[in-house]
């Protein structure tokens, strides 16, 4: 049995857990705790170690989706989680521009850990106050080549699209690196 993994990262409350929940075939293993910090009491609980969801491909292959803890004090976990990943998804809450800077920092950190392909998912695009993708791209300073995808983490089709786009990027990377 082969197992491969992708990492879903992003700032606190960006929708990582929901994203995994939408496509995982098992009830994802969540490690959530009540939030203690006043500043981060946007929601009642947060992921403190990692979430993981599973997608069985066939008898020989399983894909695991790992969600990173959103709060910075758990970022010691990131390097461990990024080890051996196929690629990663950076979730950004489109309605909370105050988290964009942190999203970019997380992206840079993960790129430094493992230069694997990645996509950026602009979550909560169904919300009225969601930022436009073009504006987010400028603010997040994403290169035109980086895929910034609209997403609603509770919508399975939107989540599938993000995963597929990441897989296409991985495939492209493999094709372009064939001669290396």
């Amino acid at each position: 049995m082969q197992t491969v993994k992708m990492v879903v990262t992003g700032p606190f409350n960006s929708g990582k857990t929901e994203f995994i929940k939408s496509v995982s075939e098992i009830a994802p293993v969540f490690t959530e705790r009540k939030i203690s910090s006043e500043a981060e009491k946007v929601k009642a609980t947060t992921t403190v170690a990692m979430d993981f969801g599973r997608i069985t491909v066939d008898d020989d292959l399983v894909l695991y989706l790992f969600g990173t803890p959103g709060q910075r004090r758990f970022d010691f976990m990131w390097e461990i989680l990024s080890e051996g990943m196929l690629g990663f998804i950076v979730m950004v809450d489109s309605t909370r521009p105050e988290t964009f800077r942190e999203a970019r920092n997380i992206l840079e950190t993960f790129r430094a850990y493992a230069p694997t392909p990645y996509v950026v998912a602009a979550n909560k695009q169904d919300m009225e106050d969601a930022w436009d993708l073009d504006d987010m791209r400028i603010t997040l300073r994403l290169d035109a080549k980086v895929k910034l995808l609209p997403c609603v983490a509770t919508d399975k089709e939107a989540v599938k699209n993000v995963l597929l786009e990441l897989l296409y990027s991985i495939l492209e990377e493999m094709e372009s690196g064939k001669g290396r």
Binding site: Q2, V4, V23, I55, T56, V57, D58, L61, L63, G84, L86, R101, N105, E108, R111, A114, P115, T116, P117, R141, K156, K160, L163, L164, L167, Y168, I170, L171, E173, M174, E175, G177, K178, R180
Partner: protein, 272 residues
Amino acid sequence: MPLKGNLKDISITQVLNLVHVAQKTGTLTVERQNEKAYTAFLGGKLAFAQYGQEDSSLPAILYRAKKITASQYRVIQEKARSVSDKELGLLMVNANYISQQDILASLQMHCIAVINRLFTWAEGIFQFENDILPPDGKIPVRVNLENIIIEGTRRMKELEQLQDEIPSLDIALKFANRPGTNIKDKKLNVDEWKVISYISPRNSIKQIAAATKLSDLEIRRVVYTLLQAGLVELIRPEGAAIPVPIRPAIPNATHEEQTGLIHRLINRIRSI
């Protein structure tokens, strides 16, 4: 026993506050990598400062403060090489060459500038030794530390924010490829123009800072302004280590096996 520690554990503002509140007399030495700053305090007030091997003689300080010209600086250096700063200052004031206020203001500016550099140090070994006075022959100033600490705290906060924006100075800059943008039309300040003149994929921000003699805070401030204005973009410097190519999903698998695996994943995701 000297007071010792690392700025990453106790910030420079905390150290200065301690000196200020306890009205300490002594010298504070702060070191990191190849840099060293030496400051002296009298009764909790800043009295003297020297940054590394930078010339902190009175003529050099007056020249940097534009109180004397380059030729005056050269003449004074030649003729008064063996004269102490105290004697030289007295001679210059008596000869109506410069006022006492100008000398003191220039020395204060110099000392504050040295301390301000320390606010950009996230870490560095510091040591405070009680009762060691400024070197003989130097003119001590009396600068209250309160305002320096307040300003320093602001600078540290600003630096923290800028470090978030520009986490590394090992990256390079390139001009943004935006049609219709003419940099000549932009109202840039002197430091910004200086930095602009060094922008090249070959130069890291750190190298530009060294060439333009800007501190970490100053270079970050300039780069941030240029980034915000959309004039430049961050890039990996030419010649820098290229990131390792994508790691195989399955170690020891052939290219065909790798791509086959990704196709299987794609088909599975599509079918969910």
